[in-house]
């Protein structure tokens, strides 16, 4: 089976600091793969490399068997929009835009906001924040912001979801609700690559990679 995302012997070096050395991992469909490790162990950098947002110092990155490191930025960005959704740490939303406008941001580069408006509403409903669609980020709780950001990552129906510390800053109930949502997405066939040190998320994952 072809992996959704595969890192082959990647190294990530910033100046004199080596974040990852000859690291390999693969993400299969319908799988939650958790990258665990203490703070500062390089989990976010590994996710950035997997998402094509950053080139590794060495090694290769494959999406569905194709290397993405030699693609132009325009082509890679276009491919990324179709292939994967990215949920950043803390569920950062753009101030001045409502929840539903934030969800529609990935549709802006391709001018598909009108076409995807009803999907945005559906996603907010699926994640239990439909009643907050027209509220601004500062009017939302941490858990609601995280779910709006998750809806944004899912807008373009990606086959891969990359999530960075999705439960950080949430109370247990909200954190478990997000973990449940990720498990549900995996059971729908999406490959989920998560960086976390939340034990509940780590133990729920089908595959784990621990960074030293």
């Amino acid at each position: 089976m072809v992996a959704m995302v595969e890192l082959i012997d990647i190294s990530i070096v910033f100046g004199e600091v080596t974040v990852a050395q000859a690291l390999s991992l693969r993400l299969d469909p319908a799988t939650v793969h958790c990258v665990a490790g203490r703070s500062g162990s390089g989990k976010t950098s590994v996710l950035r490399v997997a998402a094509g947002l950053m080139a590794p110092t060495a090694g290769d990155v494959l999406w569905e068997g194709e290397s993405v490191l030699r693609l132009t930025d325009d082509r890679l960005s276009e491919l990324r929009r179709g292939h994967l959704g990215y949920l950043d740490q803390g569920g950062v939303l753009v101030r001045g835009l409502t929840a539903v406008e934030n969800v529609l941001l990935p549709a802006v580069p391709d001018r598909r906001t009108k076409e995807l408006a009803s999907r945005a509403d559906d996603l907010l409903g699926m994640l239990g924040v439909a009643h907050r669609a027209n509220h601004y980020p500062e009017q939302l709780s941490g858990g609601e912001r995280q779910r709006v950001a998750l809806a944004r990552a899912l807008l373009l129906s990606p086959r891969v979801l990359i999530v960075d510390e999705p439960t950080a800053g949430l109370d247990r109930a909200n954190a478990d609700s997000v973990i449940g949502a990720l498990a549900g997405l995996a059971s729908d066939g999406i490959g989920v690559l998560a960086a976390s040190h939340d034990q509940n998320l780590v133990s729920m994952a089908h595959v784990r990679t621990v960074l030293e």
Binding site: D73, D74, P106
Partner: protein, 305 residues
Amino acid sequence: MRLGLILGEVGSGLRRNVSMVISVVLVTFISLTFVGAAILLQMQIGQMKDYWYDRAQVAVYMCTDLDTTGTCTQSEATKTQIDAVEAQLKSPALAPYIKKYEYETHDQAYTNFQEQLADNPIASFVTPETLNESFRVNLVDPTEADILIESLSGSPGVQEVRDQRSYLDRIFAVLNAASYTAIGVAALMLVAAVLLIATTIRLSAFSRRRELGIMRLVGASNRFIQTPFILEGVFAALIGSILASVAIVAIVQFFVQGYLTRALQSTTTLVGLGDALVVVPILIAVGAALAAASAGVAISRYLKV
């Protein structure tokens, strides 16, 4: 590419940094005005060289009773010596290089001298006998004066053979120095403009860094994110370029073609509106290219997430 969205972002960036944008406009305006002035000055020098070099003669001064330089021994050049020089000018060795020549007598030299230095006190002390008689030679190619100088210098009765272009070269050296000074000032001002544009765009990007990071994460390309910022810099620089272009056209129209043409009358040709209109697209292209490059570099650090 999503023109409305991009223009909206450009407008909001310009409103947010209005004082910086005004600085960019002013610095670009002044620097490009200097660039335009330097280009026009170079054009003027080129035109003057064409005009004057074409008219510059080689003067073969014959001895007077007072001269002790050259082959002169305080005695007037004899008719034989004058005829010998003329024969050399007509000889097959020199004739191909000569377009025409004429002989200027003491009286003609005196008349010309009085005309040219009418307001100078020295004019009242000069008598016809103190001014050299001379052959005034126009060459086919004015740059080949050395041939004439080498052939005739030292001939009996010849005091000096002088290429008048040597006088012009001094004038052109001064004009060139002025032109290079303008280029130097323009270069410094352009550096200031580039740095100011970069700072403005950095400030603009810094205030929107959160949105930029999110747009990268949701799949926007670098080009999509960079474009509004680059247009913001280019827009400000373009206003400066257009102001500089207007200034250059106004300088040529009102100062050069108006004041200078009246003051100098028809003694030389001056740059005209046609020359100014050649400079305008250069200024606009330089302004836009520098702003785009500067803004592109400034924004790049905010594209990393």
